[in-house]
């Protein structure tokens, strides 16, 4: 039995090139072996550039068998060594296995005013924490689709972060003290690349999209097209996250799903079932009595868990920091 090979009709080429290949009798890429660009160009009646393109696209198969496969062992060592982006809330970071990870998509969904934008801003500041403190020391891209990004709030959170790191630096090792003293509010603000409604180099390690749901919930006529666009976008984001080894954080809305048999309704993440597969990790933010909570709903390797978090004047914090701050303001 002939070896199964890829059909030429499935190569990423323009339709006219595919048709001319089929018309000339080429069925699989195996048929293209040993055919030079001049011969191909004559046989198909196409220009030499097109012939070269066809051979380049099909030629990729001649290189090493596993085409960029990495062993799970290599990935394991990389995963263990990877640094995370913290949120400054101990419980939340613990739930996420140290913080938001690079190389994957993490999605936060929740009702309005539960703190999604605050978290996004906190992460955009925290990705800049210097390596001396165990951070990534890199910049962030913030894509704002809802206009909820408030610069004054970013300044508050940045200042609080610098204060915190300087305090740690004074009590810690020399390298940390140096790194903390080099931080400046202007530099940190400059490292958050803000886009109201693209692509960037430098050492960007975080992309926050706040929110991914907004435009897709407005008025999409064709639902099938919406699904296609969403899945394609998800694939591109995963590709970006993996290739550039950066963290992609998406904010999503929640919507009400009416349950069958008159069992009432429940809140589910927006954008439907197909979108549910897009994020590598998914966290649902919700209110319980007067407290904000985060539930790790989906993760490749962490167990499901809930963590409490607070939004304070200094940004996102855990329970203890929140209590301390309340005690401070009460005493003042």
């Amino acid at each position: 039995m002939a070896a199964p090979r890829q059909e030429v009709n499935t190569l990423p080429l323009a339709p006219i090139l595919r048709q001319s290949l089929l018309a000339a009798g080429f069925r699989t890429v195996a048929d293209l072996y040993g055919v030079g660009p001049v011969d191909l160009s004559a046989e198909l009646g196409i220009g030499p550039d097109d012939a070269l393109l066809i051979l380049k696209v099909a030629d990729v198969h001649k290189t090493s068998g596993l085409l960029g496969a990495k062993s799970a062992h290599e990935l394991y060592e990389k995963e263990l060594a990877a640094r995370k982006i913290i949120t400054f809330c101990g419980d939340l970071d613990g739930m996420l296995g140290g913080g938001v990870a690079t190389g994957q998509i993490t999605e936060f969904c929740g009702v309005p005013a539960v703190g999604k934008t605050q978290l996004g801003i906190q992460l955009a500041v925290d990705v800049q924490i210097p390596a001396a403190f165990g951070g990534l020391g890199a910049s962030a891209v913030y894509i704002d689709t809802e206009g909820s990004f408030m610069v004054e709030r970013v300044v508050e959170i940045t200042d609080a972060c610098i204060r915190h790191l300087r305090k740690l630096g004074n009590n810690g090792i020399a390298a940390q003290k140096d790194a903390a003293s080099q931080l400046s509010r202007d530099q940190m603000l400059a490292n958050i690349h803000y886009f109201r409604v693209r692509d960037y180099t430098e050492q960007v390690k975080l992309i926050v999209i706040d929110s991914i749901a907004f435009h897709f919930r407005q008025d999409f006529q064709d639902m099938a097209q919406r699904t296609r666009v969403l899945v394609e976008m998800a694939q591109k984001l995963v590709h970006l996250a993996e290739e550039k080894d950066l963290a992609v954080v998406l904010m999503n809305h929640v919507t009400t799903k009416v349950l069958d048999n008159n069992r009432g309704s429940k809140l589910v993440p927006a954008l439907g079932d197909s979108w549910a597969h897009a994020a590598t990790s998914r966290i649902i933010l919700f209110w319980q009595e007067q407290t904000r909570n985060a539930f790790l709903y989906k993760s490749p390797w962490l167990p499901a868990k809930t963590a409490e978090y607070h939004i304070t004047a200094d940004g996102v914090r855990g329970r203890r920091a929140h209590k301390r701050q309340r005690a401070d303001t009460a005493a003042a």
Partner: protein, 221 residues
């Protein structure tokens, strides 16, 4: 584990409304197979493969098995390819088919025995249903992917495991990708999680060799 999901020469399909379960099952199948000494190729399209989870699963299975390969050996037997478009996936599968042909002619023992594609729906959904000529090309790519996988299963005695997600209402869910994809796998297992209880069910909804509608219960730990 591998045998219960798909025999050799066969292509098995898992579909599931919530992806968490599928990723766990795929990783478990990969680790179990690698622990027996087989090479595994894992094509990860959504970035959900976690080698830490694989290591955790190894530790759990390790306590039950006699013949112990080390964690490093097991992880080195699982080759992960991260692709995000159907063209990249076809290119990888083609290169893999070529390499397997070479190994088969030498009667090599390091021929992969399990090939996992997680998930097919992430690759195909963006290209399906756009209307006009685009639609037929999307279908052609989907069928070509199915054909290539089936030929590889038949030619090289390798088990192929793919995953798909479910669409439709909760009372009447159906596998995504439509009727054209439905006929591709030899075996199809539908994973169901009822709203109450921790138990999940796997229902054999299509099979070339066994009676259908058999059900098995399992739990995720």
């Amino acid at each position: 584990m591998t045998r219960s999901f798909c025999g050799e020469h066969h292509m098995g399909l898992l579909s599931w409304p919530k992806l968490l379960c599928i990723m766990q099952l795929c990783t478990t199948a990969a680790v179990a197979s690698a622990m027996r000494g087989d090479q595994v190729l894992y094509i990860d399209t959504t970035g959900s493969f976690s080698s830490r989870r694989a290591a955790a699963i190894y530790n759990t299975l390790n306590s039950r098995l006699q013949d112990k390969r080390s964690l490093t050996d097991v992880l080195q037997s699982i080759h992960v390819n991260r692709v995000h478009t159907v063209h990249d996936a076809l290119a990888v599968l083609d290169a893999q088919a070529l390499s397997m042909q070479g190994l088969a002619s030498q009667n090599a023992v390091c021929q992969p025995k399990l090939l996992i594609v997680d998930s097919v729906s992430a690759l195909i959904t963006p290209i399906l249903g756009a209307g006009g000529t685009q639609q037929s090309h999307g279908h052609a790519l989907m069928s070509a992917l199915g054909r290539l996988l089936k030929y590889m299963a038949a030619c090289y005695t390798v088990a192929i495991l793919c995953t798909n997600h479910m669409v439709g209402s909760s009372t009447n869910p159906r596998p995504a990708l439509g009727e054209s994809w439905k006929i591709q796998p030899h075996t199809r297992l539908q994973l169901i999680r009822p709203d109450v209880g921790d138990d999940r069910f796997a229902v054999l909804s299509a099979s070339a060799s066994n009676a259908c509608n058999q059900q098995a219960t399992f739990q995720l730990t």
